[in-house]
Symmetry: C2
Subunit: 127 residues, 2 copies
């Protein structure tokens, strides 16, 4: 199938697919008119990448996961380790964002939000 169909079925853009191909995450053969032709396996990989990306994995990590996906002699602990690292990163990131959000919320509550210049948010940033 051609790129447009793969993109539609996998729920990603044509550009994303070409990008994954540039980075050697997937492969295609060419038709006589130079159009890319994808196998069902390639479509599956694009779907795989799409899901992994949505779970927060980077392209680089997707690359590792695809290697494991392809490897029938993989050890599940290897996959698990990648996931654990990502999970820890996510937890840390959530923590940081929560701190920020709480600070911001606190400032917003203190701001009168009227048509006068006095503003605790500006004051805090300028302090």
């Amino acid at each position: 199938m051609k790129i447009g169909e793969v993109a539609l079925k996998a729920g990603v853009t044509n550009r994303a697919i070409r990008h994954y191909e540039e980075l050697n995450l997937i492969k295609s053969r060419r038709l006589s008119n130079n159009y890319r032709e994808y196998s069902k396996e390639a479509l599956d990989k694009v779907k795989f990448i799409s899901r992994a990306r949505k779970l927060g994995f980077s392209i680089d990590e997707c690359s590792s996961l695809i290697s494991l996906f392809d490897n029938q002699r993989r050890k599940s602990v290897e996959v698990r380790n990648i996931a654990i690292i990502k999970n820890d990163e996510l937890k840390r990131q959530i923590h940081e964002l929560k701190d920020l959000q709480k600070s911001l919320e606190w400032l917003i509550k203190k701001c009168p939000g009227n048509d006068k210049p006095n503003c605790p948010i500006i004051d805090e940033l300028a302090s």
Copy 2:
């Protein structure tokens, strides 16, 4: 004062200050040797930007905030609105990340993590 001193006092790099200047968030005059010379007000603005960045505001938003900071006839509601938008963005982002993290955690729990190929994480991504 020169760029290095400003950078030290504001806790940012020289490069960042030049960057802010390129984007017209701050200004400097030049000494006879072409070195940048900053006023105390410029230092205050760099500090202001640094704090705002740490609160999650983009450079673009910092630019708006600085305009309000400079404007003695600002209305606090304008500042507040920017902060509210950012706060909502942060909340949404935290929500998304939490969902991801929970999904990942669930998958990790289901994975045996041994030396056999069977892996629920891979299965989920390939499903």
